[in-house]
Amino acid sequence: MRRGRLGDRLLHGYTWLVIAWLSSPIAVMILFGFNDTPSKSNTSWHGFTLKWYAQLFAIPDLTDALWNSVLIALVSTAITVVIGTMLGLALGRHRFRGQGTTNFLVFAAISTPELVMGASLLSLFVSANLPRDRITITIAHVLFSLSFVTVTVRARVVTLDPSLEEAAKDLGAGPWATFRQVTLPSILPGVLAGAMLAFALSIDDYVVTSFVNGSTLTFPLWIVGSVKTGIPPQVNVMGTLIFGIGVLIAIANAVAARRRAHT
């Protein structure tokens, strides 16, 4: 009995240690957004302030980079979700010529090292004579997040009873009505999970983006670029806000999932 209790305590302690270890970078990021630092360097604590929240958009380059990131993440997520959902549906529901190849490509896109993908995309864009800007970044982001959306949607589709769609058709619904009223609501959790994944992958991507950005700067690229001169506290504030929004979405999703399960 005693030993069991000791084991329990050790396990508890260990669990909290791991949680603290995992969340300490986030805690530091949030904390140093409130640091009243006098210099450009934001590495030692100088007291509490809210002025960086007030001066959030005081660095025009940084603000531009953040908006670039948000815009690219939104657009690439929208495109990825549409294509990925169609791919996931096709792979999960139908048998067709080229299915094996498609499955392989989906897997290959996940397992390709980002450096390789970035370098080959760059040579593709150069040889296609495409100017590198927000459009090429968006194309690249769609490419590397597409597989993740496809896989999440496909996983949902294969658990779906195929007679649901047949029932809708049997009751007079055409192909589009069937998709909108029956198929989409049934796979929506998978589509939403895929969308969140795509957004998260896009907004903090550095490696692939650094190859195809041309002169456009995104939020992660701007931060890496300012490492030598010192990262301003605004970056911490923006990071905190992005993190906060992510947490809110995750909570909303969990609540919605629980409501779906209970009603």
């Binding site: 047949e166 029932a167 809708a168 049997d170 009751l171 007079g172 069937t178 009223q181 049934s186």
Partner: protein, 359 residues
Amino acid sequence: MAERGLTDSAIELQDVVKEYVSHGEVVQAVKGVTLAVGEGEFFSLLGPSGCGKTTTMRMIAGFEEPSKGVVRLRGEDVTNVPPNKRDVNMVFQSYALFPHMSVWDNVAFGLKQRRTPQEEIRRRVGEMLEIVDLTGREKRRPRELSGGQQQRVALARALVNRPRALLLDEPLGALDLKLRQAMQLELKRIQREVGITFVYVTHDQNEALTMSDRIAVMKDGLVEQLAGPREIYESPATTFVAGFIGTSNLMAGTATAGVLRIGEGRVLVPQHDGEVSVTVRPEKIILSVDEPDGDLSVVPGTVAEVVYLGTYNSYTVSLADGAEITVFQQNAHDSTITAERGDSVWLSWQAQHSYVMGS
């Protein structure tokens, strides 16, 4: 131009064939089915799994396109009409209720697709829920209902559209025995009440016999026999039908002058000579200790097994040629167990109860 059918049948299949290509080989799931289902009829497609009954039904619903042949609904050729434009509805084996919709929205789905006025939707859905006894559960989600209730939602969802025919694909398969028997009677009642043609796919012969006006017994993609329940049971057209419907006893041998000899026994097979096989229903056979008199088929045997089954006893009797015959004997007030394992007994039955297949 749509060719008019020969009759005013609700459903007509004419030489319908369904072929699949599987691993480079052409497989025929349905090999040429011709049948007509009458208006308001309770029609069953009965057969073992893989006999093509479900494929046949799916061709009526429009989910499968026939490789050859014609499907007609009320005389109109619908062979190439997609399911959403056919005036038939289906109850799926898995029910296929929309999990994200309430009972009400599930039932109203078909009417909404047809842009029925709101007021009419409200009235008809309400009426239908009353018929299937689900009033008060409109707001529930399918998963909050019991299996029997889900089944009735599926039924209501199809019937509310007043289809020309309702197709049911083993709809009672997922229910337990008691509920299944209750639902059989319930289905029959609802069918009488709404007066819609039912086509019922099942592998359960009792279900088919209980509910159907007519039954098509299928095997290997072909209809073996199409007749009423009594005819199918009493005079099966083939040995397969005899074996598939109810328990059948098969005796085979060479007959001479209308008599098949088995050991010391004789089975009357009038007008047959040469190779014959004879089947007899277990409840038609009389079991006795002494050799019975009269113009009967009489065969001796040894009791191999006695099973007490409440309302009746089931005896398994081994014959001289090794065949095993099942005999049911009612547990009426005056009957006791007349034989036990190992006893020598006589089996007898009237010639009219022999079903003979000759060469």
